[in-house]
Symmetry: C2
Subunit: 561 residues, 2 copies
């Protein structure tokens, strides 16, 4: 089956824009420009699907075509299972994907049920029809590094004048040098595979390359001194790079790593081998490969820890290199440097900030450019948002329906009407649609990795202050309250990036079609949704969240307990 992507323009296949938005978003998820393997309905992230089967896909589209403005469609793991009378202010589509009863909540049970055709892996944004391609990754990295700047170099503009050392220039990790330079900083990135380096240079994700560590350091120091953004790929193993820096007494400002260390056989390269040699070793003697690989990882982590001891800011970037070395090489102090969520993303979550995103249902790029302008107009004082919008316009290619990611939060304190950042933006866009400045409705959604939407003890809720990492009441309340507030699509998923049984998370969509109804929904949902982020972190005792609640007038029932 070949597949064409979302319909565009202003002719509707459905009875209204709310239903049409669901129709187009599902199809956009399966756009060959967007999806990894659309023929198999796989959008991204292993087997993250948008529908359970092509029959189920067809049936969903039929249901959406017939769905009335006061009806709600139910989708169970990518299959439509019911349609009920509700009301205009209620959601049009409710989705539950991959959820299992706790004692059965593992890959084995999941695969058995999947083989019977009873369940589907929804990943995060795949099964909720909210995936928009790779721009989410760049912006997540950009925002994480921006927070590093705010926390450790508050006098600087972003990371200007600082040097960040990392490794890995692959699929996701390749976003790092661009994200550093977008934050005005200097990046040295070790990568063993020269082809990968060349790909990043070609696509503008990285500026320079060298084989010589000395040259890389010299270039970086010069750029940092001059306050110029610069990114330099070094063709070397990460462990060796850190050793070389230690020998030279060079200490960067920030160290991290995004080699695919979570997989010691397929994702990480041992030192002392060229890529070709290592690939041959992997083929010939995988056990020896794994031993070498873990030995290098240990050296690599020791390098990071040494840099941290010497004054660098260090964090793990979600690749589990700490866990690997701790478990397989008995390095007790591997966890002496923090994971990126507790260190940098959680302070944003405390203020309800997360990867908010929107899509132009028209298919017209001009509509997204108009929304970019709206961000600038609405938040004239928020230089950080402007920088991101400028950079995104300049450097991020559209895939499928034109769309934009922009981390917005609660932060109602600075608005005279007490509206949240997300609500202010959505209401402005809704007006622009009403006025015809934007040619068709905009649908607003977000990543499942958001402030108040996820329980995931290995990632988003790692090391919560009060130890509440595993409590899943929170995402369930998030889904319920967004449903009550009138989001047009609400979804609840098990699994996602960390796998079945390791997280519960939710999503929602609101369609801005220029009507008063859309304004009402937007005002409520974009208060409840980031509001859950503030409340969840306030309940866990985070000062930032309590401060945000006070500044933004969020009611915290038992605040003094």
């Amino acid at each position: 089956r070949t597949y064409q992507g979302a319909p565009t323009g202003t002719d509707l296949e459905c009875k209204g824009w709310r239903q049409e938005a669901a129709f187009r978003m599902l199809n956009n998820n399966l756009d060959p420009e967007v999806a990894e393997d659309p023929e198999n309905l796989v959008v991204y992230g292993g087997t993250g699907r948008a529908a359970r089967s092509w029959d189920a896909y067809d049936a969903i589209l039929d249901e959406l075509r017939e769905l009335g403005d006061e009806e709600t469609l139910l989708v169970q793991s990518g299959k439509p299972v019911g349609r009920f009378q509700t009301h205009e202010r209620a959601p049009r589509v409710l989705i539950a994907n991959s959820n299992l009863v706790g004692q059965w909540d593992d890959w084995e049970q999941f695969h058995e049920l999947e083989a019977k055709g009873l369940i589907m892996y929804g990943q995060m944004t795949a099964g909720s029809w909210a995936y928009i391609g790779t721009q989410g990754i760049i912006q997540g990295t950009y925002e994480t590094l921006a927070e590093v700047g705010r926390q450790h170099f508050p006098e600087q503009e972003g990371l200007r004048g600082t040097i960040t050392v990392t490794a890995g220039l692959g699929g996701m990790s390749g976003a790092q040098p661009l994200a550093v330079t977008m934050n005005e900083g200097v990046c040295i990135a070790a990568e063993v595979d020269e082809e990968r380096i060349d790909r990043r240079l070609e696509t503008g994700y990285c500026m320079e390359k060298t084989d010589a560590v000395d040259e890389a350091i010299a270039m970086a120091e010069e750029a940092a001194r001059e306050g110029e953004p610069r990114s330099i790929a070094v063709h070397v193993n990460a462990a060796k790079l850190f050793d070389a820096m230690r020998d030279r007494g060079f200490v960067p400002d920030v160290v991290t790593d995004q080699t695919a260390a979570h997989d010691e056989l397929e994702g990480y390269y041992p030192a002392g081998y060229t890529v070709a040699e290592a690939d041959a070793l992997r083929e010939d003697d995988p056990e020896a490969y794994v031993e070498e690989s873990l030995d290098t990882m240990r050296r690599h982590v020791e390098g990071i820890l040494a840099m941290q001891d010497a004054g660098a800011v260090a964090f793990e970037y979600g690749n589990n290199i700490r866990g690997q070395v701790n478990a397989h090489r008995n390095l007790e102090d591997a966890f002496d440097f923090p994971g990126f969520v507790p260190a940098y993303v959680r302070p944003l979550f405390c203020r309800g900030k997360g990867p908010f995103r929107w899509v132009a249902l028209s298919g017209d790029e001009a509509d997204i450019h108009r929304t970019d302008e709206a961000i600038r107009e609405l938040f004239p004082e928020k230089a950080h948002l402007h920088r991101w919008i400028d950079l995104a316009q300049e450097r991020v290619q559209f895939q499928g329906l034109p769309s934009r990611v922009c981390w917005l939060g609660y932060q109602a304190g600075d608005d005279p009407d007490g509206l949240t950042e997300r609500a202010r933006f959505a209401l402005r866009i809704n007006d622009l649609v009403a006025e015809g400045d934007i040619s068709a409705p905009i649908v607003v959604t977000r990543d499942h990795l958001d402030a108040g939407s996820v329980a995931s003890p290995n990632r988003e809720t790692e090391a919560m202050k009060d130890g509440s990492d595993a409590i899943a009441d929170w995402p369930i309340l998030n889904a319920l309250v967004n449903c009550a507030a009138g989001a047009d699509i609400v979804s609840v998923h098990d699994g996602g990036g960390v796998g079945i049984g390791n997280s519960i998370h939710t999503n929602n969509h609101v369609v801005l079609d220029g009507t008063e109804l859309a304004a009402e929904k937007a005002r409520r949902v974009f208060t409840t949704d980031p509001g859950m982020g503030v409340l969840r972190h306030a309940d866990a005792g985070y000062e930032d969240a309590l401060e945000e609640a006070a500044q933004s007038d969020v009611h915290v029932p038992m605040e003094d307990q």
Copy 2:
């Protein structure tokens, strides 16, 4: 802390009846007449609580007092955590209790988090403020036996003229003889403990007692011949009763068992000992006790199987006696007789039927009697419902706020307006409240054990036709769609009767205050909620559900797949 139960009458502590209903139901749950241990906030079922702590309880009441008609309160494991602007048609309270991420979803993690004060065990109706005392148990047993009658003795009125043999006259099991005679049948119940027998005789749950099996059989056969309801307790071990019946060539119509066989040490008595002797053995040599107990259980199950072979209808009544004998005595054919849910309750679930219940917020018993009349008026042809209402009036004592349980379902096929049984009833009650025939609003809710509200592979979803026992998408969709439909309270719980990690289930309340808004909510919720039961079972391939969908015009999207 002493505790007084729910306020009654028509003066409100809250801003409206929807909030007041939540306020009174929470307090009713903790009425000393209703709750097992109100001082510790424990309502029933181990540690099933209504609020996390007395501070949280006070804070919930404060929140409810202040809650506006367009606001929604969020409760996380018995603690209020937020309050948001929503709208009139949305729920007033959203509750999530005891939910954990799958890989952490066990008692150990739960108890750790409970000790930190971060989570609460909500059981089923405790944490959702819907427990109404013991009448739920009687009616569940009554309905199960009614379904036994419908399936196996369709020519009879209920169980009239049939003999049911069971064992156990304890806390819950003691409801069996009454439930049999309520269904017009004859019951012989073995019980080793004469004190227990006497208690059932005193409270009218059982009619006669004897030490002699011959006498019991003779009395039962005579009553059955004459079509008279009769219940006879036999002071004998269950295993011995079955042996004696086999010796005499007596085969009853129905056999089951509700001794507490799930616990071989504390719940089950070995044959060959008086109660006093067995209690002494348990004390002196618990290991010997267990061996004797399991040996008796084996004999007991062999007795049931023999009766089944000889033509009796046999089923297990949720005490795991099959599992015990299968696991510890290697009896391979222990599972040759079915569990009660797949056998008798599931056919009801297929038609959206389950333990619907309502409570008179006035505190006035006359209001419940008026609702009883309404059932008779609305369903003049449903003799089964009439019988239950008559019996309940006669024999069920009120506890706390007056209330009634009555299994109602979807079954819209026989209504000219296509309304479900539940909706027809609720709309009629709402009218009676509007007209002043009922003195204050009625709140309608149900058990979490309901047609479309639970995933529980060891009980409610045991042995589903398609193998979908463990899929939890269904209860999540149930909660979301009831929220969309405007239920006034919506709750999602992990655990309940089968323990943490073994089930996910939901509840909802709708307040019938005589307004058009209440009518709208009732019409929708009492379609979506039983409708989920029909859809869930239709999706699993049950003929009854597909037939119900066809008769009642329930849209099943991929019916022909």
